[in-house]
């Protein structure tokens, strides 16, 4: 059986190996350049004491390679479409399933070995690509502290392994159900995008209850490390968020945690701010307005997932996709066992 797998998939395996080697070469070369750039920047900014604003002034790497790294988001889908979808469907289309399913090897064994090898292969490809991207992104993660941000989280760590296994399982299941390769490919692509989008937008922010911190207007607060900001704003005395108008016309008052429109403050405080441009208030006047707002129990709030939860989130999301993959594979077994050869 293993020999059969090797014969059937050796061309694909060779193509994948060549592509991975090309990606590895590109990322290794540009990654080492970036690391060197990062270190020299650290040396220079330590010398001039400007490391604090480095994230605003330094751009690491090139746009072209950056594009390529973002495009690794599509690797799982391509694996699922090109290797997963044809697994059962193509055998049906060419009629080889009639031969394969009437041998001494049972259908379940046939499927278990084929699907098992492909899932293992998908996990391996996902791990290699993610390993390369994670290493490559090291300096940028240190500079921007954004490893937890949507889009960055999705191409690093262990989640790409989960995505790859899920996409592969989705392809295999779609092929077994539809028995035709092209529709299975289309379903795999659409299904993968839909499931990823739903989990990304509506499930991930709530995997663990977010932390909300209330901050006095006159003091600053930034969570440690690469945290993920979910919401920010201001709350009034009743603890409910203050509505912030869409346009503020320059009537914006700088606080230590951001800016608050003057029109959102109580009337007494608005009177203190006067009618002019609030950004040009003298420090003393600004302080008086902020003290007034604080006396009215207006506080800033920040809702976020702390940086310390990064690996917990990676683990949960990977587990979720591996579970989905397992469910899909169970469906495939049920379908294949019941179907006539």
């Amino acid at each position: 059986m293993s020999w059969l797998i090797w014969r059937v998939y050796r061309a694909q395996a060779a193509a994948v190996a060549v592509l991975l080697a090309a990606l590895a070469a590109l990322l290794l070369v540009t990654g080492m350049q970036m690391a060197a750039q990062w270190h020299s920047a650290l040396v220079t900014c330590t010398q001039s004491h400007t490391c604090g604003n480095l994230s605003g002034t330094l751009f690491l790497g090139s746009h072209a390679v950056g594009f390529l790294v973002i495009m690794t988001l599509g690797v799982p889908a391509v694996l699922g479409m090109l290797c997963g979808a044809p697994l059962v469907a193509h055998e049906f289309e060419t009629g080889t399933s009639q031969f394969a399913w009437t041998q001494s090897i049972t259908r379940r064994r046939w499927l278990a070995v084929k699907a098992g090898s492909l899932l293992l292969g998908a996990a391996a490809v996902g791990a290699v690509v993610s390993g390369l991207v994670t290493w490559w992104s090291g300096p940028n993660n240190a500079l921007q502290a954004n490893a937890f941000s949507p889009g960055r989280f999705d191409i690093m760590g262990i989640v790409p392994v989960g995505y790859a296994m899920f996409a592969m399982a989705l392809g295999i299941t779609a092929g077994a159900l539809l028995r035709r390769t092209l529709p299975a490919i289309a379903i795999t692509l659409a299904g993968f995008i839909a499931v990823r989008a739903v989990i990304f937008s509506w499930v991930r922010p709530h995997l663990i209850a977010a932390v909300t911190t209330y901050i006095p207007l006159k003091s600053g607060f930034t969570p440690v490390g690469a945290y993920w900001q979910l919401a920010a704003g201001y709350v009034g005395a009743d603890g409910r968020p203050i509505s912030i108008p869409q346009s503020t016309n320059g009537q914006v008052l700088g606080t230590a945690v951001g800016e608050i429109p003057v029109s959102s403050l109580p009337a007494q405080c608005q009177a203190l701010a006067g009618g002019g441009n609030a950004r040009r208030l003298s420090p003393a006047a600004r302080d008086a307005v902020l003290s007034c707002a604080q006396a009215h129990h207006i506080r800033a709030f920040l809702t976020y997932q702390p940086a310390g939860r990064y690996w917990a989130f990676q683990g949960i999301e990977t587990g979720l996709f591996v579970l989905l993959a397992a469910a899909l594979i169970a469906v495939t077994f049920a379908v294949v066992s019941r179907r006539d050869a």
């Binding site: 193509a15 750039q37 020299s40 920047a41 040396v43 220079t44 900014c45 010398q47 001039s48 004491h49 400007t50 604003n53 002034t57 330094l58 751009f59 690491l60 746009h63 072209a64 594009f67 390529l68 495009m71 599509g74 391509v78 479409m81 090109l82 044809p86 193509h90 289309e93 949507p150 889009g151 390769t181 092209l182 529709p183 490919i185 289309a186 692509l189 659409a190 995008i193 989008a197 990304f200 937008s201 108008p245 869409q246 346009s247 503020t248 016309n249 320059g250 009537q251 914006v252 800016e259 441009n277």
Partner: protein, 333 residues
């Protein structure tokens, strides 16, 4: 022949229409939301000239909207591998070419009718998605002036039509040359991505001569309207260019670009780099013949660029179709 094409592709056509409708529905909902948000902002902003900076802080549509609209960049590739790649390859695989190519209708006619209808459908589809994306981006273009930026340029205007026709032609050609659907699909995905990246990153900045503005080092310059800034940095009197992100920066100035005599001014302070030190160093650089520069494609180049890029992709598609015809005509049934 047309009836045959209709019979063969009606399922695909229906599936495609369903997908287009779903995508359009999501875009229309999100687009209406953005338009409402924009109207409430625009009314207030235009009243006060001073409010423009307040308006730029507004995030129209939020972060999910960006991801949604970004999906339309892959639409041409999907058309190419789902519609284009199987056109010849699947007929070869299932053996139906033996029948199709031995009828009274010539092979050339067979291919031109099939490929013709498919390319027309691809152009319509590309145009529809492009028009939706253009409408959706209207408020954002008005506020952020971003329609010329890479990534935004690629989903608006007429270029999506060129991409869709090219991707479909690539699929058809790959299928005709390779005669296997799956391999053709893989080649279509890889080829489309490679050509798009190559043209947008390497070729596009050079369609028309860019404009360069020079100014005092560190003064900064933002070209009018929705111009596309191709590069910016510092240039010395010998014409040597220091591009902004090439080296470690101090407040936007590459330290390596600061000549040694001026650099000592930067680090003269006790611990931190002050604005005064920076101004002294900049004045020193200016005296030494350094200038800041911004090279950009002005906003008036937007439609010429759209036209040129669409033309390039249509020409590539025509080349691929010529290859397909040559291959199909010379092959034994």
């Amino acid at each position: 022949m047309t009836w045959l094409v209709w019979r063969q592709y009606r399922a695909q056509g229906a599936a495609a229409l369903a997908l287009l409708a779903a995508f359009a529905a999501v875009l229309v909902v999100s687009g209406l939301q953005i338009a409402r948000q924009w109207h409430s902002v625009a009314a207030a902003c235009t009243a006060h000239a001073a409010g423009a900076s307040g308006c730029l802080d507004v995030s129209l549509g939020g972060s999910h909207a960006q991801l949604l609209i970004g999906l339309s960049t892959i639409v041409p590739a999907v058309l190419g591998f789902l519609w284009g790649a199987p056109l010849v390859a699947q007929e070869v695989e299932t053996g139906t070419v033996n029948f199709a190519w031995t009828q009274s209708i010539t092979r050339t006619r067979w291919l031109s009718v099939k490929a013709g209808w498919l390319l027309l459908a691809a152009a319509l589809w590309g145009g529809a998605i492009g028009a939706l994306a253009t409408w959706w981006s209207g408020p954002r273009n008005a506020l952020y002036q971003e329609q010329f930026q890479p990534g935004h340029f690629d989903i608006q205007g007429i270029v999506p039509i060129g991409y869709a026709v090219f991707a479909t032609a690539l699929g058809v050609a790959a299928g005709a040359v390779l005669r296997r659907t799956l391999v053709a699909i893989a080649v279509t995905i890889g080829g489309f991505t490679a050509v798009r990246l190559l043209i947008s990153l390497v070729v596009r900045p050079h369609y028309l001569a860019a404009v360069t503005a020079y100014y005092r080092p560190m003064a900064g310059y933002s070209p009018p309207g929705s111009a596309w800034v191709v590069s910016e940095g510092v240039i010395d009197k010998h014409g040597h260019v220091y591009v902004g992100d090439a080296a470690a920066l101090v407040n936007g100035v590459p330290v390596t670009a600061v000549p040694a005599s001026c650099r000592s001014l930067l680090y003269a302070g006790p611990d931190t780099l002050t604005r005064t030190h920076l101004q002294q160093a900049v004045s020193c650089m200016q005296a030494g013949g350094f200038r800041g520069f911004t090279t950009y494609q002005p906003a008036s180049h937007y439609w010429p660029f759209q036209g040129i890029e669409t033309g390039i992709f249509l020409a590539l598609a025509a080349g691929l179709l010529a290859v397909t015809f040559a291959v199909v005509r010379n092959r034994d049934a």
